[in-house]
């Protein structure tokens, strides 16, 4: 009997072995192990690995593992695992490894899940429980199937193909692709750096009709030379002169004036066609003639009055000045709009002095609000809108002062330059000290003269001799680069000046 048993065993073993095919299982397990190791290494070593590839590889591995386990399970029921090498080291671990009982955490999880699932129906008989669970499973299964269908449809539409195969992506044909590439470059460069958007020179003229949102925004003359290329040509780097609508480049205007004038030019002043009178009034009172005698000072407040009175008188004088002025440069008639004003500022700069000559010579440019409304307002514009008035005259619209400025025709430039810096002159200058501290006496005396003339409009004659007037500082007229301008006799050059030159009373 003893011999039969081992024989039987051997036979069994043989059969089982064939059935089990343990060698095969071992090989498969080893292959699986190698595959997993390989994938892991790939993942760890390669930064650019695609998840799609790795996942697909893992899924393959997973499938084989599941298969192996299934195969073993089929036959493992018949066997009991008996550890062969139990020693001190693994005696504590083996039971855990061999146990088929779930780990405590897993067990907990399972019980809780079970509770959750059987929540509503645990009281019912088992059969019904089973049925209910089955129906639930079926519902979930159908949901999953439908979702799967949707996803696959979407994949088809998107051209993504099946899960594991990227699918065929339609390629743009080469021609189209290059065309699109060109267009793209065009678009990007246009947006980012403006390439292709630069206007040719012939299109750069200012538009006749502006879109509504730009009406306020663009002065008529702004567009002309508002392009970077124009910088080099004509525009003198005259920072102060950039105050006004600098887009307009005055191609020949003496920049001297502009360089000095502008300080306030850019500030929009309420230069409406108010006529000279209003500003005159404003200016009149604060204006103090430093060297003027008290009677003259008293007469000062009467200036507007006298201005008006002498209107016909001045209009006479103005005719000549206008001729004079016009002979020099063109002066745009209407001053209502600052736009136009600023646009023509450059042009006006030059005529400005002549203009001021005109006005000042008449000594009543302001009064001629009617006769010379434009001119008056122009000068106002020039002076006031620049804001220089504010600066120079300490905030007073000391218009009258400048107007009374008896500027010799020969020194047109000086007018503007002289007018403005004389801050002391206009603003409540208490005495001659201010004036003298300001500028050359040339300006002083001129102003004085004009003032005098102004306050005495009845004195139609000019005082040809400037020599009466202290010209101590004439040589200091460095501001304008025209030394001694004041020395030139006014009468000879400005017959239109109806102002009398009187020596400043002391």
């Amino acid at each position: 009997m003893g011999g039969a048993a081992p024989q039987l065993n051997a036979g069994l073993q043989q059969q089982l072995q064939q059935q089990l095919n343990l060698e095969d299982v071992r090989n498969r397990a080893m292959d699986l192990f190698k595959a997993i190791t390989r994938i892991r290494e790939q993942l760890e070593g390669n930064a650019n690995v695609k998840w799609q590839d790795v996942l697909s590889q893992f899924s393959v591995v997973n499938v084989s593992l599941v298969k192996i386990v299934d195969d073993i399970k089929k036959v493992s029921k018949a066997f009991v695992i008996y550890p062969k090498n139990v020693n001190q080291e693994n005696s504590t671990k083996l039971p855990v490894m061999l146990s088929s009982k779930l780990l405590p955490e897993m067990e907990l999880e399972e019980t809780s899940r079970r509770q959750q699932i059987l929540q509503g129906i645990s009281s019912l008989p088992v059969q019904i429980q089973v049925e209910k669970l089955k129906s639930r499973i079926d519902a979930i299964a159908t949901a999953c199937n439908n979702a799967e269908k949707c996803i696959s449809e979407a994949r088809k539409v998107y051209g993504l193909g099946a899960r594991h195969n990227p699918g065929i992506i339609p390629q743009l044909d080469k021609l189209q692709a290059t065309k699109i590439d060109e267009q793209e470059k065009l678009l990007r460069s246009a947006v980012n750096s403006g390439e292709g958007l630069w206007l040719p020179v012939d299109q750069r003229s200012p538009p006749t009709v502006l879109p509504p949102h730009l009406e306020l925004g663009v002065a008529p003359g702004d567009g002309e030379t508002s392009f970077p290329e124009a910088i080099g040509n004509v525009y003198p780097r005259n920072p102060p002169s950039s105050l006004s609508s600098t887009a307009v480049i005055n191609t020949g205007a003496p920049q001297l004036v502009s360089s000095v004038q502008p300080s306030g030019r850019s500030a929009p002043s309420p230069m409406t066609a108010t006529g000279g009178v209003s500003t005159d009034n404003r200016a009149a009172s604060p204006m103090q003639y430093t060297n003027s005698p008290s009677p003259q000072q008293q007469q000062r407040p009467k200036m507007p009055h006298t201005l008006q009175q002498s209107q016909p008188y001045s209009s006479q004088q103005l005719r000549a000045p206008s001729a004079y002025a016009n002979a020099q440069t063109h002066i745009p008639p209407s001053q209502e709009q600052q736009n136009q004003l600023q646009a023509k500022f450059q042009q006006e700069r030059q005529p400005y002095h002549s203009f001021t000559n005109r006005q000042f010579s008449s000594g009543s440019a302001q009064q001629h609000g009617i006769a010379q409304n434009t001119q008056g307002s122009q000068s106002k514009h020039h002076l006031a809108s620049a804001g220089n008035l504010a600066n120079i005259y300490g905030g007073n619209q000391n218009f009258a002062t400048s107007q009374m400025y008896n500027v010799p025709a020969g020194y047109p430039r000086n007018v503007s330059s002289q007018v403005f810096p004389e801050s002391g002159y206009n603003v409540g200058a208490s005495g001659g000290s201010q004036i003298s501290s300001n500028l050359g006496a040339s300006q002083q005396h001129v102003r004085q003269a004009s003032y005098n003339a102004f306050s005495n409009p009845q004195l139609a004659q000019q005082n040809p001799s400037i020599t009466n007037i202290p010209l101590g500082n004439l040589t200091q007229n460095t501001l304008h680069g025209q030394p001694n301008y004041g020395i030139a006799p006014n009468s000879t050059q400005n017959p239109n000046y109806g102002q009398q030159r009187q020596p400043p009373p002391q």
């Binding site: 949901a143 979702a147 998107y158 993504l160 246009a190 958007l197 949102h213 925004g217 392009f227």
Partner: protein, 226 residues
């Protein structure tokens, strides 16, 4: 104690999309953002102060013409982040300061010595969406203006392509967040277009037609869980 002014920056990516797919993109953005689109019509003027002495600056005047009253904004778009830091981020990070201005801003800048370099007109729409930062997606057709300020005669630079810009504001410290938000949002748009830093061409996306088709479809599916 006065805190130093934190530089305000803009993180931006650009992409292109074929004009035929713009509607689909709009549908997609509508779905993603959930708000109404904002129409855009912006007359953009780039002014440069061309100082021969050295530093020149540029300033953009943006006039939004969509509302009944034009809204003027001045934007200073400055230098971009450069160097190693810029290579790590997928968006362009550049300085940007915006400010509302009055309608005579153009004259003001002319008076300051700025000159018009070029102008363009952008017409399109924009969506805003809050994803940790406020992301703005704008899809516009860029028009060039043939004559000075002649907006009505503007023609598209590329009729077949429109520009898509995704941008978000940030400070110099927090731009990583903004860039990350932009990147993640850009992924949603991946079926229709690719976005990249300005200046980097992307080409069109091959899946665009398919994606556009499905977006424009009236929903043929019978429901996921019937």
């Amino acid at each position: 104690m006065m805190k130093p002014k934190v530089e305000s920056k803009e993180c931006i990516v650009q992409g292109i999309i074929e004009t035929q797919h713009v509607e689909a993109l709009e549908v997609l953005l509508q779905g993603l953002c959930g708000v109404q689109k904002e129409k855009l019509k912006v007359h953009e003027l780039l002014l440069k102060s061309g100082s021969n002495l050295g530093t020149s600056s540029e300033v953009r005047l943006l006039c939004s013409l969509e509302q009944p009253e034009p809204v003027w904004t001045v934007a200073h778009i400055g230098g971009a982040l450069k160097g190693a830091a810029s290579d790590q981020v997928s968006a362009l990070v550049r300085n940007r300061e915006d400010s509302r201005v009055s309608s005579n801003a153009l004259r003001f800048f002319y008076a300051l010595g700025y000159k018009l370099d070029h102008e363009l007109l952008r017409v399109g729409f924009a969506f805003h969406i809050q994803r940790t930062v406020r992301i703005t997606v704008s899809v516009t057709s860029v028009h060039k203006i043939p004559k000075l300020h002649a907006i009505d005669e503007a023609v598209p630079v590329t009729p077949g392509l429109q520009l898509v810009e995704v941008s978000a504001p940030s400070t110099s410290d927090t731009y990583h967040e903004a860039v990350a938000a932009i990147s993640s949002f850009s992924e949603f748009l991946a079926p229709l277009l690719h976005l990249s830093k300005p200046g980097v061409t992307t080409g069109v996306v091959s899946t665009a037609s398919g994606a556009a088709g499905s977006l424009m479809s009236r929903g043929s599916s019978k429901g996921a869980l019937s």
